[in-house]
Symmetry: C2
Subunit: 286 residues, 2 copies
């Protein structure tokens, strides 16, 4: 995940290796910032409009003004990708509270666009995940803030349990993972996922759209006791696509192997990506 | 709160105006950092041992290693104060998750010591506060993380209500404010303050010590309904000392004026500071 040569700071191309923020920035002093993260293939950002929707919405909810129109900002992203000369990779958008005079009150935001290689685990259909549950409701869960302090502080706990990631429980209700949305597959191939007090993932949205074409979909409160009855479970995330969850708190989910619904949706998602990309490239070429 | 000329980064004196962190630092990308903040008078940091206790404890709870012994780190603080040539001011200690290779896993922390002027409101015995309550339990409340996203995002809400600060309620239990501890004075001059799921303030500790010499002190769960019965309320914080709270959610606390217990404790606290300083200066001179 080394940053690629160029990055963008407040609309200007900069050398990534020298891209720094003064320590008076509110992201450093007060954790006041939002971000988003998406992939691009053949020079085309995937589902860019959805990510821009979320980024602008997150900014608004934190009373931060992005000093560019959506069109200008999207153009900056494409300009950066072109400057770096890579056909595929990933992009992080980052907006901070800016350089604060009193170390607390937001000022002019700093807007960054950072480019990285394609994550190694992107759309890896062989990977599986083991989770441990943890009682936690993300603070301001609908906003993609930079606050990951609980998830990161529990990395040693994951290692101790031989687990890959956390599943956050809000009391007895399932919410989400640190960086992923969570789905269960119940009897009758019902695809079930929480809908409230979570970050609404862009991949989650695509997968719900695909799942509705084959299965019954339920967006609702999901109780922790439903895990024991589930045939399958999976994660969705922008960097990973769909990842089967085979174990939670040391107990297998279903038969402890990736199930047919997860595998079908992985195939559907890759086909959906290809179709999306084909359409974008056709539009760009015409 | 402009930073003073020099600052310290990883044990080295640096120009504050140029003191930056590369954008791969986890404080920027993931809000992963801790800090502390204290004042100094006549060149002497106030209650330094208490702040160092907390800073090292916060670091440990987030699995971050401060790469200096307490003695070496305290010496750096004094070295910075001397380099800046000011007799009074304030100091921020800051420890981040460091430059992360994958944008998520902590690495070698960055350690910063930043110096500012004395805050304008320090020990101002004429100031009073109006609060509004807000349902929120700080994430990892015992750790002084840099995460202030809820408090800062509600600044427009404070303005709308003509309020100065928030009082966080965990369900029906009073916890703390964004940057201060909270006390009630109940019938019989009982001084009451929450003891759990809060940041244990250094000024809170000093004030409890002083209050025990004059009043009955109760450290316990405090129910929101007790506000209506309170004769007085006040905040304690490192930058402000003791500040009377005269209004909560539009209703006066007691008779809506700073009360005798708050005023007495303000006097006691200033006398305590002077005695502390006198002792430190005597030790330093001998």
């Amino acid at each position: 995940m080394t940053m690629i040569t160029h990055a963008m700071l407040n609309g200007h191309l900069s050398r990534a290796e020298a891209l720094s923020l003064h320590v008076s920035d509110l992201s450093i002093l007060r954790g006041y910032g939002i971000f988003d993260f998406f992939l691009f293939l053949k020079g085309q950002p995937l589902f860019l409009e959805d990510y821009l929707d979320r980024f602008y919405r997150s900014a608004k909810l934190l009373h931060l003004d992005i000093p560019f129109s959506r069109e200008a900002f999207a153009a900056q992203i494409l300009q950066l990708i072109e400057a770096n000369g890579q056909q595929e990779g990933s992009i992080r958008l980052l907006l901070t509270g800016g350089y604060s005079a009193d170390g607390y009150t937001p000022s002019e935001p700093n807007v960054l666009i950072l480019q990285y290689p394609l994550p190694a685990q992107a759309w890896d259909t062989t990977a599986t995940l083991k989770l441990i549950t943890h009682r936690h409701l993300r603070e301001l869960p609908e906003i993609k803030t930079t606050n990951y302090i609980t998830g990161i502080s529990l990395l040693p706990e994951l290692k101790k349990h031989g687990a890959d990631d956390l599943l956050y429980l809000d009391g007895e209700w399932i919410r989400e993972s640190v960086r992923s949305n969570f789905f269960l597959v119940l009897e009758g191939d019902r695809v079930v996922t929480p809908a409230q007090k979570i970050l609404l993932g862009v991949t989650r949205k695509q997968v719900l759209h695909l799942a509705r074409q084959r299965y019954t979909v339920e967006e609702r409160e999901v109780h922790v006791s439903e895990i024991a009855k589930a045939k399958e479970a999976f994660f969705t995330s922008s960097t990973k696509g769909i990842f089967p969850v085979i174990q939670i708190d040391g107990r297998p989910v279903g038969d402890g192997k990736p199930g047919p619904v997860s595998k079908q949706l992985q195939q559907d998602f890759i086909a959906h990506l290809e179709a999306y990309l084909q359409e974008k490239l056709t539009v760009t070429a015409s």
